[in-house]
């Protein structure tokens, strides 16, 4: 049986080698210990040997090729009547995992990366106008006591080191105010239980977002009746595989609207806003078994609905099968999260850093709506915008949602 000769590992710090010479030609006989090739490493040229008698076979790489440790370099043909090879054959060509476990994977991809979009939130969003409160200098012990007793540190003057509020200051304040309040429920303990890696990655990204990005939130109910009817008509003419989901209307509408709102499409980097030169919409897609990712639909404003739908189906399939490229996860310039059929009315997203905005859609449903002077049943969808207050404000955000609503009134133009 034909065997392969693989790029050998010659040191724990060797990751790859460059072929600089074949010392044997195809058809030549190789004895155990013979040099088969010379490879260039970061330590210089090293002759590499074969460990079994064989006939030199077809080369699989060319002079000058640099290949990772474990990659096949040449075929080796067995000698007549040769014994079977050693049980410890070198590992397979790619994605090889040594028993010792290599630190760095050789390929990229194949791993769902941290999620982009936010999980739904039911809590009331913070006021868009909330200004940062000044941080009072207080000792950790004083902060903890203040929290337990429900005391406001802002009302106190510190007597501790560098004017910090200390336990003594709190006790004095309580003595002035009378009896202390009963202690509220204790802080939940732990918090770093056995989260899966994905969960931890989501936790890290979302914690960073909530810690660093001053979000403001806006919501807007949009009449979706015309669009829903248009969608129903259009899908009625098509086979199931060709049908459009309302989600692609949202993606396209968001992308078109963003053309006029560059401050919502881009990145916060090194303390500054960097507008993106294209509109790549990250689509939040749930992963079976937990977690979610938001890979990009590139140039979403310039593709027609069928192309967007095909792209979305492809992404969903690859999220499920694990075939996303790393770049697809880092390319989005904005995120859209839609809870589709799950039946909630609205979702308030958390921005995925370093993006500056996330648009959320609840489930379209029939609700009473005032049309003219009459209350009518209409299909409504609530769109929300969470945006980075460092780079835009509620006024522009509101105009964005209004623009989005307008685009959704003319589905045929999408």
């Amino acid at each position: 049986m034909t065997e392969r000769f693989h790029m050998p590992s010659l040191g724990a710090d060797m990751e790859a080698g460059t072929l600089i010479e074949w010392t044997r030609q195809p058809g030549e006989r190789l004895a155990k210990g013979d040099t088969i090739a010379v490879i260039e490493t970061q330590k210089g040229a090293i002759e590499v040997e074969v460990f079994h008698d064989a006939i030199m076979g077809r080369p699989l790489i060319a002079i000058g090729d640099r290949v990772p440790v474990g990659a096949p370099m040449a075929e080796l043909e067995p000698l007549e009547g040769a014994a079977s090879p050693s049980p410890s054959a070198p590992p397979a060509a790619t994605g090889a995992q040594s028993a010792g476990g290599r630190a760095a994977p050789r390929g990229s991809a194949h791993r769902p990366e941290p999620a982009a979009a936010a999980p739904p939130r039911s809590a009331t969003p913070a006021a868009a106008s909330a200004a940062a409160r000044p941080r009072h200098r207080a000792s950790p012990a004083a902060r903890r006591l203040a929290q337990r007793r429900g005391l406001d540190l802002a009302a106190l003057t510190g007597s501790g080191p560098e004017g910090a509020i200390t336990l003594a200051d709190l006790e004095a304040a309580e003595a002035r105010a009378g009896q202390p309040q009963p202690a509220p429920a204790r802080r939940p303990s732990g918090g770093k239980a056995d989260l899966a890696a994905m969960r931890q990655a989501i936790a890290a990204a979302m914690s960073r977002s909530k810690r660093e990005i001053p979000h403001y939130y806006l919501a807007h109910d949009i009449d979706f009746t015309a669009a829903a009817a248009w969608l129903e008509r259009r899908n009625g003419e098509r086979s199931p595989g060709q049908r459009l989901l309302s989600g692609v209307l949202f993606i396209k509408a968001v992308a078109l609207t963003l053309q006029a709102f560059p401050e919502l499409n881009g990145f916060h980097r090194a303390g500054r806003f960097e507008p993106a030169d294209a509109i790549h919409v990250g689509c939040a897609i749930a992963i079976r078994g937990g977690g979610l990712v938001a890979p990009a639909i590139h140039d979403a404003d310039r593709q027609d609905l069928d192309a967007l739908m095909a792209r979305l189906r492809d992404l969903v399939a690859r999220v499920r099968s694990g075939g996303l490229k790393a770049s697809e996860l880092s390319d989005p310039t904005v995120t859209v999260s839609s809870l589709g059929e799950r039946g909630v009315d609205r979702l308030y997203g958390i921005i995925y850093p370093p993006q500056v905005a996330i648009v959320g859609f609840g489930t379209p449903r029939t609700r009473p709506w005032v049309v003219g002077d009459a209350v009518r049943p209409r299909t409504l969808v609530t769109a929300t915008l969470a945006a980075d207050h460092r780079h835009s404000d509620g006024h522009r955000g509101a105009l964005f949602l209004a623009g989005l609503a307008a685009h959704l009134q003319a589905p045929e133009a999408l």
Binding site: P8, S9, G11, M14, T41, I46, P87, S88, S98, G100
Partner: protein, 334 residues
């Protein structure tokens, strides 16, 4: 003197009554080491063995010859190129291979790897990866024997590179000053990594340096297993009788690179080829054949036995478990 070329004399059977059984034992021991080392090289390229790997091929006669003179109660302190010492001392091949892999069944529970083989039962005090750092330990082990009135000997192996370390000089001085039962065995393979002896030492006659500490010291052909065994037996008998430390400089040559990742820019291929012609195994084999002690059947049988043992050792290592990460901090004080 420093040999520019390998010696070509035949093995010296003088001073030893060499039975066929013993001669074949010596051959088997050297073959076992060579086969183990060559398999380790292969497993290293296949990433089964990681870290640094230093092979003993070419130097087998020293470990095998010296061990013949040691009793089970004697102690051995070795270097980071110590697979041969461990095998010759009787450490089981399967557990040695498991240690190469880092498995829990290894001689050091997998915690040491190639450079740190230990065995309390056989008084094998390790593989040390700090050049020269094992030498003071050997002196201390001998001091303990002396203070407890035991007649044990400690054999301490090191390379000629260690001779440049302060630990070497401090230790030889202490051992001679206190007349401790240590057999110092310098494996002079001519290169400290890539630095040739004459490029690192003002005095290249190492035995002479040892003699400067008032210690009987001889240089001998370290490619001749019989010569090594004879010298070891004589020296160990003297030491055991209270004669103080002895020093053997065994001149040898390393057939392989210093470690696996070494393009060997510092020596000629012709030099390596020339020494290989005079290797401890080929020479001894030739001599045994000429003396009528080795025929083709016996040789084939030896090779087959060793191949079988080696295959079993690899299977054992492959089949062994990794130590659970939960045990990470075991066997550490403080």
């Amino acid at each position: 003197m420093t040999d520019a070329h390998p010696p070509d004399n035949t093995p010296q059977a003088h001073k030893l009554h060499l039975s066929r059984t013993h001669a074949l034992h010596l051959l088997r021991e050297m073959l076992r080491i060579r086969a183990f080392e060559e398999r380790c090289a292969e497993l290293y390229t296949a990433e089964k063995i990681r870290g640094f790997l230093h092979l003993y091929s070419g130097e087998e006669a020293i470990a095998v010859g010296i061990m013949q003179g040691l009793a089970p109660t004697d102690a051995v302190v070795a270097t980071y190129r110590e697979h041969g010492h461990a095998l010759a001392r009787g450490l089981p091949m399967d557990r040695l291979m498991a240690e190469m892999y880092g498995k829990e069944t290894g001689v050091s529970r997998g915690r040491g790897g190639s450079m740190h083989l230990f065995d309390a039962e056989r008084r094998f005090y390790g593989g040390s990866a700090i050049v020269g750092a094992g030498i003071p330990l050997a002196v201390g082990l001998a001091l303990a024997d002396r203070m407890q009135a035991r007649t044990q000997v400690t054999a301490c192996f090191f390379g000629e590179g260690a001779v440049a370390e302060g630990a070497f000089h401090e230790s030889l001085n202490l051992a001679a000053l206190w007349q401790l039962p240590v057999l110092f065995v310098c494996e002079n393979n001519r290169y400290a990594m890539g630095t040739a002896l004459e490029r690192s030492e003002s005095e290249t006659d190492i035995a002479r340096k040892a003699a400067g500490y008032q210690m009987p010291a001889v240089a001998l052909d370290g490619m001749d297993v019989i010569a090594v065994e004879a010298a070891a037996r004589e020296a160990i008998a003297e030491i055991r009788n209270g004669g103080g430390p002895r020093f053997l400089e065994c001149r040898t040559y390393r057939f392989r690179a210093h470690s696996m990742f070494d393009p060997q820019l510092y020596r000629d291929k012709a030099e390596v080829a020339q020494w290989k012609q005079q290797g401890p195994i080929v020479r001894f084999r030739r001599w045994l054949e000429a003396a009528g002690m080795l025929d083709a059947d016996t040789a084939g049988q030896l090779d087959a036995e060793i191949a079988q043992a080696l295959a079993a050792a690899v299977d054992f290592a492959e089949g062994s478990d990794w130590e659970p990460v939960a045990d990470l901090t075991r066997d550490v004080a403080g």
